[in-house]
């Protein structure tokens, strides 16, 4: 009796929400597995008559999509490296050191989070063009790493602050320099934080569209921009498009499932600690 009530009040509503959350994903996957002929036939059959990988094979053999995946991977890994390099020292300063302007600066970084991309994309385009960096990996990596920096610093300082300060003091008493302290004590302990921030940076860069569209797009074309090539004047190649969509979605989804606990804890941790 109690179980029946639980199923009615909890299991069923959860299932309904999950159906809403998953149907578009599943529909994308099912579409990508249909042969082209089945895609243009109405009425639509909910499940494919034949399952075929023809779209995925054509996508990787006949189009530039494999190169686009490579470009996205290079940009995302670059953004992760640069983002960690920039955010870790800053997070250490915010979490461990007291200095004039500490609060104002921390708020300032969060305010940067608020600027609309449209506010800076045009001058950024002009800037990159004048520096000759337009359509390079470097331009996109810089753009992605910088734009995600405020949140990366916020997330990271939560992790650094959670490392017991007694460890610093113990190391200092043992005669360690600040650098030794940073490398030998803090860095290993901050590894979970770096993984979480790294995954956040990777997903943000992998999924980003507007910078990738404006600052690159010809030589360096990431997957989100490349999807446009399946959208023709009069028709959209839904088979190829959804095949590309599933390939793009897989790594980000997998990483998200791994990192979700850390990201959520970071979000709420920052909210409570301010």
């Amino acid at each position: 009796m109690k179980t029946a009530r639980r199923i009615l009040a909890t299991d069923l509503p959860v299932a309904a929400i999950l159906v809403f959350a998953l149907v578009p994903w599943v529909w994308m996957l099912l579409t990508s597995l249909r042969p082209e002929a089945e895609l243009t036939r109405a009425p639509v059959h909910l499940f494919p008559d034949v399952i075929s990988l023809a779209n995925h094979i054509e996508l990787l053999r006949r189009t530039s999509f494999a190169e686009n995946l490579r470009d996205s991977l290079i940009v995302a890994l670059g953004a992760v490296s640069l983002g960690l390099l920039l955010s870790l020292p800053a997070a250490y300063a915010f979490a461990r050191l007291r200095f004039r302007g500490h609060g104002a600066l921390k708020t300032g970084f969060l305010m940067v989070n608020m600027f609309p991309v449209v506010l800076l994309i045009l001058p950024l385009f002009v800037l990159m063009k004048s520096l000759g960096l337009l359509d390079t990996y470097f331009a996109l990596i810089m753009g992605h790493a910088t734009f995600t920096l405020p949140f990366a610093i916020w997330l990271m300082s939560g992790y650094v602050a959670a490392i017991p300060p007694e460890l610093d003091e113990a190391a200092m008493i043992d005669g360690a320099t600040r650098l030794q302290l940073f490398v030998r004590v803090l860095l290993p302990l901050a590894t979970p934080g770096m993984v979480a921030v790294g995954i956040y940076l990777f997903i943000a860069s992998w999924n980003e569209y507007l910078f990738a569209l404006m600052l690159a797009g010809r030589n360096v074309r990431t997957v989100t921009v490349a999807l446009q090539m399946f959208i023709g004047e009069n028709e959209i190649h839904w088979g190829l498009l959804t095949a590309a969509g599933t390939l793009v979605a897989l790594p980000a989804t997998a990483l998200f499932l791994i990192a979700q606990k850390h990201l959520a804890a970071g979000l709420t941790g920052g909210a409570v600690k301010g």
Binding site: V14, W27, N113, P116, V118, R178, V248, L255, T268
Partner: protein
């Protein structure tokens, strides 16, 4: 190394990058917004003061896009929050497959906006879309609907897509917040004879308030600024039916090649957001 310069040394890379790639372009946009800048007329860029801003007052498209932005933010964030909060409360209860459900609920959040836009466009397709197919089969629709081609339904459709994208964010952050509420508070409420509703109102909501506030603020800023989903699904159309303020600014500057006007629009958006955020922060700190 002096202790006093250490923090600045550590912050320098982050500050430099932010200065060059965020603050400088923002200042540049402010500057551009005071000039008459047309892309294909690079030699003549006269200073017009607040001319671009004053022109906005008479620009019907501006007021329309502002109204769309308001609907977009309020309805989308409101629905994301309601659905996300419901999901969080449900996922906080005990049931056998809870771990799996918690993992799966975030799937939409992981997808790029561009793909979300395209998948929903496909689902809303007139002839071959899942929504029309099921709607007809279940008798909910009499005839297929061209969701994205009609002004009345296009806004609904893009909001549906952004609600799908954003509700997991609320579900996950609010769930983490719920898990942080000490069990003793609920036990005490139970001893005092509080009903489920009362302990929700007097324990859950107050404990969760800071998390709710931060999540709402972050999401609101994000939704207000986002334009890729709409750009992909409707491009602001049909006509200008789904053109929000950031999209209008982008299209004006980019397709219209009118940098001055577009910059002014972007600045107005930033000022409006700044106003909302500072009001919000002032209230939160009181």
């Amino acid at each position: 190394m002096h202790a006093r310069s250490l923090p600045w040394l550590l912050l320098a890379p982050a500050l430099l990058a932010t200065g060059f790639l965020v603050l400088l372009p923002v200042a540049d946009t402010l500057w551009l917004s005071l000039h008459d800048v047309i892309l294909y007329r690079p030699r003549s860029q006269p200073f017009v003061g607040l001319g671009n801003y004053i022109a906005l007052l008479d620009d019907a498209d501006f007021w329309e896009s502002l109204g769309h932005s308001l609907v977009w933010v309020v309805v989308a964030v409101g629905l994301q929050f309601s659905l996300g909060f419901t999901a969080a409360l449900l996922l906080n209860r005990a049931f056998p497959w809870r771990g799996l459900a918690r993992a799966l609920v975030i799937v939409p959040w992981a997808l790029p906006s561009v793909i979300i836009g395209l998948v929903w466009t496909w689902m809303l397709d007139f002839n071959l879309g899942l929504i029309n197919t099921l709607g007809l089969r279940w008798g909910l629709l009499d005839a297929p609907v061209a969701w994205l081609a009609q002004p009345g339904t296009a806004m609904l459709a893009v909001i549906l897509a952004v609600v799908w994208q954003g509700f997991p964010f609320f579900a996950i952050t609010l769930l983490a917040g719920l898990q942080g509420i000490p069990k003793e508070l609920y036990e005490a409420a139970e001893i005092d004879g509080a009903s489920t509703f009362n302990s929700f109102r007097n324990v859950t909501l107050p404990s969760l308030a800071p998390v709710i506030a931060t999540a709402l603020l972050l999401r609101m800023i994000w939704v207000a600024n986002s334009l890729d989903l709409i750009l992909v699904m409707t491009g602001g159309g049909p006509g200008t039916a789904t053109q929000t303020l950031p999209l209008y600014a982008f299209l004006k500057a980019w397709s219209g090649a009118d940098y001055g006007h577009g910059s002014a629009l972007a600045v107005v958006l930033a000022i409006l957001l700044l106003g909302v955020v500072s009001t919000y922060a002032a209230r939160a700190n009181r």
